[in-house]
Assembly symmetry: C2
Homo-oligomer: 122 residues x 2
DNA sequence: CTGCTAGTACTAATGTTTTAGTATGAAGCG
DNA sequence: CGCTTCATACTAAAACATTAGTACTAGCAG
């Protein structure tokens, strides 16, 4: 009955992403969206969504026939927490090295760098 | 006998960080460094280091008495791969949103932003 | 009514990561 | 030598994450 872990695991994130996209889906809708990309059982999706509810990421209410789920935290906030956790774990909390990694790596196009440069201006 | 996973898990990273810091330590040295922060068994550290060897992150050679381990890949390279994996998983491969997250979040001091602004210049 | 469909609850197998115990041997000391 | 210490190999349990099966219910098409 106890769910200690508070952060999202890999598969949980995948499901949350689908839910954020769909808005307030039922298990079936999430299931079908996932199916487009990979084989998965309906009950697996249900289990995951129940876990996500227990963890406080989802709320459910009785819908017409099936339960309707809704995210209880906005995507941005959750992602932000994940970034923070990653920065803590990998860079001991210092965001700068991560930024430098991203910048010096050629994962960014010139246009993107431009964008950033603009948004970074005080 | 099969070790599929190629990326570092949480605890593995913790150990690799200690090893990068120490250079070419024995199990005991890693063990003692870890002990300063948390309780852990000697054999646990050994197991982890063996796994890291199997995964190709460490090389070992016979030392005076115990095995001496050395990182087989530079820290920077490994961290880079982790960043890439994170960006893929969380941001579907787009580095820019992550950068914006970092920038707009107040995790960075003015000085750090200055630094970055400089390094971002073409 | 009867059988089919969609739904949930409960349970459980499988997989992976993390932690550590036990057996065993080499080396040094008194 | 006999005992303690430090080391490794092998084994495995605990904890966490992922996937799915089974039983049961309600509603609806025929």
């Amino acid at each position: 009955m106890k769910r200690a872990r508070t952060t999202l695991t890999g598969q949980e994130l995948e499901i949350m992403k689908v839910i954020w996209k769909l808005g307030t889906p039922t298990v079936r809708q999430v299931y079908e969206t996932l199916l487009e990309r990979r084989k998965v059982a309906y009950t697996t999706v249900m289990t995951m969504m129940n876990i996500l509810e227990q963890k406080g990421y989802l709320k459910k209410r009785q819908g017409d026939r099936a339960f309707v789920y809704a995210p209880s935290r906005p995507e941005k906030q959750v992602i932000r927490a994940m970034v923070r956790e990653f920065v803590d774990r990998v860079f001991n909390g210092a965001a700068e090295p991560l930024l430098l990694h991203l910048v010096e790596d050629d994962q960014l196009t010139k246009e993107e760098l431009d964008e950033i440069r603009k948004s970074i201006r005080p």
